[in-house]
Amino acid sequence: MTNDSVKLDILKLDAWFGDKQALKGISLRIKPKTVTAVIGPSGCGKSTFIRCINRMHELTPGNKVAGTILLDGADIYNDMDSMDVRRKVGMVFQKPNPFPNMSIADNVVAGLKLIDAADKKELEEMAKENLKAVGLWKEVENDLKKSGASLSGGQQQRLCIARALAMRPEIILMDEPTSALDPASTAKIEELVKALKTETTVIIITHNVQQAARISDMTAFFYLGELIEYDETRSIFESPKSPLTERYITGRFG
């Protein structure tokens, strides 16, 4: 069952670390060009959830996944190759991880270089375009040859977003992208996330419920591996249906 208003259709998703079940029967639908915030206390399965969407969870031996995830109607576990999935579903990590052995420009096109043999000029263009998209171009245009590790934390994180964007992904997953950053850098990333949804679909984990309220259209609240509540962000924050959700967003646990 597919239609244009569903980008990602997740049905009865279970995930395990060895024998320990980390996700229990998660079902939810994500609309294209939206920002979905995933919130919940530590260990609730948020990270596992998004790592199932780009098939990173299975990388650790012993980890298992069951259930169905449809990306534009295609089953990412049965119809697609894991490498293909990751090209279409980009990821930004908690700790900025630019490749220290590559220049700033090469970092942006690192993924592109893997798939096609674009010429040097084209790659330079792509680097420029995506650095502009994350508002980093002005800051680094004279240092493109410098190592990606030479930037500040916030700049590194925007570089990593540019690196993910360069792949023209259908979805970008973000795993607490601002938790290691100062408030000014955080504000820039938040603005960027809001701008990104004109181009792509964003799923962002955050520990900061205010952040979820500021930047997301939809919010999913996870607790102990289960999806407790999934609704429009405004509804979640104004009239949560579950008392658990209410207690979490009002800061009474978590």
């Binding site: 780009n54 990173m56 990388l59 031996p61 490498m83 293909d84 990751r86 090209r87 980009g90 990821m91 990590f93 700790k95 991880n97 630019p98 490749f99 220290p100 052995n101 590559m102 690192a110 993924g111 893997l114 798939i115 590790a149 990593c160 690196r163 993910a164 792949m167």
Partner: protein, 315 residues
Amino acid sequence: MKAKKSSAHYNRQDAIFKSILISASLLVVGLFVALFLMLISGSMPSILGNGFGFLTGTTWDPGKGIYGALPAILTTIATSLLAVALAIPIALGIAIFFTEYAPEKAKFSLTLFIDLLAAIPSVIFGIWGLWVIAPLIKTYVQQPIVASIGFIPIFGGPAYGISLSLASLILAMMVVPIIASLTIEIISRTPVSLKEGMISLGATKWETVKHVSLPFARLGILAAVMLGLGRALGETMAITMIIGNSYMWPFANPSIFAPATSITSKIASEFYEATSAIYVGSLIELSLILLVITLVTNALFRYVIKKTNRGARRQ
């Protein structure tokens, strides 16, 4: 209840213990300095008698009193470099397989075999090289190469079996476990966050190794290679048994299939027949030269390690 011991007692105990530890450490320094001075003083008859010609001479004829060390020095450097060159691809292959592809169970036995290989006494490698590998390599490798491209001097005949190249091959086997185990250590220190960054872009395992792990580990691998080189330079027993102990290479016959003599094999095969002071002095000067070569390699190794650590901290 026993009376409490005074703090003075503890201080005295500490002082005694500390002085024992200091003496143990000083012993290392003292030993090295004493050894170095002994080598220099032992070399004096040769340094004074042979002069600078010792380093450039190509003839070694104790009967005529001619001592030239150049072929031995060149052989030591050539066998070691060749051995390391042969060992690097194998060791890297092992290390990449181990860190990125091997299932946990295979890792255990692989570690065991790497350690076992490193623990084989070199005389066993020597005897195996001499009686098993030399005839095989002569028939199946050296002779066909001599027959096909033997007109190129370094691949020229005749094929002897025991030779510079056999020594390099056996040395390579002895060096592989050293380079491999260190490289495993270094590659597994690649931050997971970097590898995941590459994987999340749709990279295959090999692409992740190539673009992330190897660049991250490159200085460390260089250090591992240096350590292997140090091992190769000093190896004696196996080399003495399989290198042929002839001063043919490289001046009389530049072929890698020709027998040769390394510094270590020269010393090991002649120390018991050296009678005159200048003969003994020449052998001791040879060891002095080997020590200097080894020290230089070691210094390079330390330099690289220092740079690696600095790079890792920046991470």
